[in-house]
Amino acid sequence: MNAWWRCLSGVILRENLRFFHQKGRFFGTLVRPLVWLLVFAAGFRAALGVSIIPPYETYITYEVYILPGLVGMVQLFNGMQNSLSIVYDTEMGSMRILLTSPLPRWWLLVSKLLAGVSVSFFQVYAFLGFAYLFGIEMPPMGYLSTIPALLLNGLMLGSLGLLLSSKIRQLENFAGVMNFVVFPLFFISSALYPLWKMRESSEFLYYLCAFNPFTHGVEMIRFALYSHFNATGVGWVLLATVVFLTLALRGYRPERGLSRKRGE
């Protein structure tokens, strides 16, 4: 068991070291949600003062509304970045170093996943810190009670990334995947508009959003930021994580080989 734990902490340390060496990446992960928050959301200040939905107790500004969605976005992009780095590692060979470790392969992959989630924590809290400085404050306890939700949401999105990396093993195909996965997940969700508002515009869109696991990840974080437990969200996210992870681990079974391209 000790060996498992040492392996996990080693992978986490490596991913974090790598992340902090890539200053551009850190900057990029912060700029994206901050632009949404400060440029896009600022124009919609009063647009949401129409209805009070849980977990909110009163009327909120749009900036407050989209904060959990942007936290989800940070984790979504991190999950994809992680999957991209797995594809890159596979092409470069360092994935072989990981996979030839004398530990069960699923644990090696889960370690890689958790390492990605740990990197997303830095990103999320840096973002929340900036949001706080710009006056978008959450209840103090919320910053703590969100940790489990971030872990779960990170695992779900990381598993999705791992699944994608098991299917797409060439870097050049990745941009297309980002377009087909990241953008629908983000836009057809409750990140930018509440579900009831989606329903007003289209019943079909509403059902798509309600089915989207990212919606539930965002809602789970939204509730957690107010120290509320969102059972539906947690349930959906757990289910999606199990499905994504199972498929991803199947994709990485040794009988499938590591590279699509013929070896040599």
């Binding site: 129409v50 009327y59 703590l144 940790i147 489990p148």
Partner: protein
């Protein structure tokens, strides 16, 4: 450390912060002809009772025993027993009373009769009209100085605040204010008078010694059209440090530093925020939000809206009983 965090999370799920206030809040619902009673302990509506047609202005007697409600379409100010919320009697308010103010001792009520261009003065113990004062066109807001010697009435069309001597019932000064003045209030030390103007979008502050205007406040909220910023209800804290203004269809309450006149913040509340009233300990300020049909609670110290509670249709006035 991770265990501590988990425990923290678990506690956060289980515990809600203890609530230490025990005030009772009364809110008039203009379109439901009722008053909603909110228990400030649980922040829930515990009772709703019928009061008469089109209830608007509401206030408690200084001894907290009688609840007065303007029932505008019944042309009366109705008195209720706070103990059992039973109607006691009607006061002769004149036609269509909208809002009123009690004298500091509670012996008089001043109310404006909009279509008659008068202010009616009622003797609350004899339950009779003491005087009727001719004022400007469409009188609206009424305010009383802390010593009870000056009564202010604002007239919507004349755009004036009339200063009235409560001994002689004579107007002794008129001050021009913004368009359609709605409400007025004195500081607790009586040195300044604040008048809100709905269409003008301004608040005029006067020196009560010289009757001169000190400043005219204007508001500007990012993302909200200027013509929707319509100051109506107001509240001045007892220490003279803060002033709150309900900005009507702007759906925000402005918080102003009463010393520097700087706007400190705009707090998002429900739609068409109308009147304001504090809790007894002055820790919270309640707002009535007409269109969204709820009451928002502002944490005064932290300048944050903590909760909104559904009441009846078109809540108008609010009074708090310790």
């Amino acid at each position: 450390m991770p265990i501590a965090i988990v425990r923290h999370f678990a506690l956060a799920l289980l515990l809600t912060p203890p609530v230490l206030f025990a005030d009772t809040v009364y809110v008039t619902n203009e379109k439901d002809n009722t008053v909603s009673v909110i228990d400030f302990d649980t922040l829930k509506v515990v009772n709703t009772f019928s009061v008469g047609q089109r209830p608007r202005g509401i206030a408690l007697s200084p001894d907290n025993k009688i609840l007065y409600v303007c029932v505008s379409d019944d042309d009366a100010i109705r008195a209720f027993d706070v103990e059992n919320l039973e109607p006691l009697y009607d006061l002769p308010s004149g036609e269509n009373p909208e809002t009123f103010v009690l004298s500091p001792s509670g012996d008089r009520i001043y109310t404006s009769n909009e279509s008659d261009n008068i202010v009616t003065v009622i003797d609350t113990s004899r339950r009779s009209v003491l005087n009727q004062i001719d004022v400007g066109v469409e009188p609206e807001g009424v305010a009383i100085s802390p010593d009870g010697k000056i009564m202010i009435n604002t007239s919507e069309t004349t755009n004036m605040a009339h200063w009235i001597d409560t001994e002689t019932f004579q107007i002794f000064e008129n001050s021009l204010v913004g368009q359609r003045p709605r409400d007025a209030a004195f500081d607790l030390d009586g040195r300044r008078l604040w008048v809100t103007a709905e269409i003008g979008g301004t608040v005029s502050v006067f020196d009560t010694a010289s009757y001169e205007q000190i400043i005219e406040l204007k508001f500007k909220i990012k993302g909200i059209r200027q013509d929707r910023v319509q100051p109506v209800g107001l509240y001045l804290t007892r220490d003279g440090k803060l002033a709150f203004f309900a900005l009507g269809p702007a759906n925000h309450v402005a918080v102003v530093d009463a010393q520097t006149y700087e706007v400190l913040d705009y707090l998002l509340v429900g739609r068409r925020v109308w009147k304001l009233a504090p809790t007894a300990d002055e820790k919270f300020l309640l707002t009535t939000n007409g269109v969204s049909g709820d009451v928002s609670i502002i944490d005064i110290e932290n300048m944050k809206v903590i909760k909104s509670i559904k009441v009846g249709r078109f809540p108008w006035g609010v009074a708090v009983h310790e």
